[in-house]
Symmetry: C2
């Protein structure tokens, strides 16, 4: 990323805005060619990238970074292979830009089209994982957006090597890609960027809830992010007990560190004594710590759960359990304490399932399957920008579509509004053509 | 609105959130019945409403409100008739909620649906026009959202009378509408509401740019609003001169006080001497003050335009004019100085038009027609929430669709993610069913 780090945040954002105007009209084949060149460049320069990554890992070890963080920081052959697969898949995906969403005749010769466009300039602030840099840059290229990236300081060498490989690849394909991908490296730069709401159209923080909140607090720019993932599975009185155990176990244990893992298990009182002992046994054998309400503790031994537990995202092998008197009580609990992320019901009653799916106000609501399915890849959206708990723009797992918006294109033959007002007003036809 | 004004902002927002959970499942016919009852209630109680409005107008006259503002404040038989027509049209419009946007088979028996839902709780802050209260409340009812309204203090009596007529009507139809529409009356209440990002999902300010900016600065809640409407018409060298005059005149003069009126006229140098004198004559006869750049002033007499003019929304009979050397220069000017609202080109060249429509980054881009067409009613969207210059969620004229979002609904038969990972991983089918 030549120079970018030496420019002021405003200069970077202005270059990004200029790039965004050029990028909105780059044809699909050119964007796909740029992606293919990135792929090639990453392969050709992999030793340089791996070596930069080893430097980052060495200094992070010296700085005493935890094993978990060191693992996230690693960019090796396996991570490269994953990145290449993801680029291949992105090349094969339909271009999300330039799609005519609707076409309406307003009157004879006056035709309105609603067409998808890039959003413009996107600032992405991500944590230590350098593979996120490749993923985000390529998503932005495919969707015609200019992107400004800020990665974790512990990954700085890796990020520079990756960004440089990407920048060289795309600017070699077409000069319109100049400044399409820019990297900034200081927190001060981020602070300054967040003030430039006339230049930056969307901020995507990928990291902790604290990061998301602090960004929301300090900018006028729309933020696409997610709050906590406090996800529930509700076992209805009409649940199949084996299915209930299997789904709950998967939701908790298949990958407990992620946002769509179950944090609270809600159990109907009529099935609790049949279900909980078997469930507890299986969970305990996986090392899960149980925290139950009073009714739960009458059936299985567990630590007591307090109200704070209902509001906690453990991201760990801990589970809070509550016995409820009805599906309505379960729905009420989820809407009150949950994070409106992903919640499931296990039941053989279609009526109860319908009520749950209709009434739980979450980005994903599931019936007889694990919360862990809530993910862009599994949903078939292609690469994933992230999971959003926003109630506007993009909700739930967000794919390429979340990086697009639309414009209206109206074509006439000299039409003027004054012909459509007053006593002799012409009438609009509003005929749907598409 | 019994009591609401006496509750704290938090209590009001909590009631609104509860209402929003009930409202998401109200059937279309019930919502339409509620709208019909509002219609009836407004007619039955019109004398009470008109009398409240007369009190507001009397005190505003005493307070020295301008004639323009007094006109906006008026709620009389004509405004009532308009409101009733708007309600009729809303009843006839398709329910935007519960629409299946897509359906995908992830694997045998595992089906994903993306379904439209209400956003939840919407806070609307609007200026003196009390008719906006009826429009917004009914839009929210049709789209299943709970709404908290804050109107201008000069319209307080009218707003209370209208809100009470609406509340009585809808709670009489179905108790789920309780607290669906709430009114707050103080600025302090608004300040407090803007802090409740866990309860309020969207803020819609309807008023001055200053209002929008100040709200964006003081909340984490997403804001749907619009900045200035600095709209352009570009007269290309290949324009038909008569059409250019007619379109420009309509864009400036048909209703100059609104956001989609033209503020700057850009003229290609090759057509300037043929076009500008005729155009100037017509504009001057309508009382339009002209402010031209140097090249313009060589052709027609006008005040000089400074850079500030290119960035000014006059909302008045004033027009800035600039001569440009090319369509590219016009596009550059618009992207740099415009407000990305609504911009038009007049040309007989399809290639130049395409370049303009593709490259101007505005919510509405128009070819050979007046900027004044950019409006929800004319676009056939039904009632209009407003015109948005946001680059996320909803852009341009926003109809009912802008008050909706979606959720993902996944239905399985006990499916768990652990079957889809590892060596014997099952494959997803990702078969598009809709």
């Amino acid at each position: 990323m030549p120079m970018a780090a030496m420019d002021s945040a405003k200069e970077i954002a202005e270059k990004s805005k200029e790039a965004s105007y050029r990028l909105q009209n780059v044809p699909t084949e050119t964007k796909d060619r740029a992606l293919a060149e990135i792929r090639k460049s990453l392969v050709e320069r992999k030793e340089e990238i791996f070596s930069a990554n080893r430097r980052d890992i060495d200094s992070s070890k010296k700085a005493g970074l935890s094993t978990a963080l060191l693992k996230r920081l690693r960019f090796d052959q396996q991570k490269l292979d994953e990145a290449l697969r993801s680029i291949d898949s992105l090349i094969s995906i339909e271009d999300p830009i330039g799609k005519v969403l609707s076409r309406t005749e307003l009157d004879d010769g006056l035709v309105l089209e609603k067409v998808t466009t890039p959003i413009g300039v996107i600032a992405v602030i991500f944590e230590s994982r350098p593979d996120a840099l490749v993923q985000i840059s390529t998503l932005c290229i495919k969707s015609g957006n200019a992107v400004i990236l800020k990665g974790g300081s512990e990954a700085e060498n890796t990020n520079r090597a990756l960004a440089s490989a990407i920048d060289d690849a795309i600017t070699g394909v077409d000069e319109r890609f100049k400044n399409a991908v820019q990297l900034v490296s200081t927190r001060e730069a981020v602070r300054n960027l967040l003030e430039l709401d006339d230049l930056i159209d969307l901020v995507i923080p990928r990291g902790s809830n604290e990061l998301v909140r602090s960004i929301e607090d300090s900018t006028r720019i729309p933020v696409l992010g997610h709050a906590a993932g406090i996800c529930h599975v509700y076992i209805d009185k009409d649940a199949d007990i084996e299915m209930a155990i299997s789904v709950s176990y998967d939701a908790k244990c298949q990958y407990p560190a992620v946002c769509n893992a179950m944090e609270t298990l809600l159990v109907h009182k009529d099935i609790a004594s049949g279900f909980l002992p078997k469930m507890a046994e299986k969970l305990k054998s996986a090392g899960v710590e149980l925290r139950g309400d009073e009714a739960t503790r009458k059936i299985i031994p567990s630590k007591p759960a307090t109200e704070k537990d209902w509001m906690t995202e453990y991201n760990d092998l801990i589970l809070s359990i509550r016995v409820v008197a009805s599906a309505d009580e379960a729905i009420g609990h989820i809407n009150r304490y949950g994070s409106h992320h992903t919640d499931a019901i296990v039941t053989s009653s279609p009526a109860t399932a319908k009520k749950f799916l209709d009434s739980v106000d979450s980005s994903s609501v599931l019936w007889n399957c694990s919360t862990r399915f809530a993910d862009g890849y599994r949903y078939g959206l292609g690469a994933e920008v992230g999971i959003s708990t926003n109630k506007t723009h993009a909700r739930g797992p967000v794919g390429l579509e979340g990086l697009t918006i639309y414009k209206y294109r109206l074509t006439g033959k000299g039409h003027v509004v004054s012909d459509y007002v007053g006593e002799k007003a012409k009438k609009f036809t509003h005929r749907k053509l598409k």
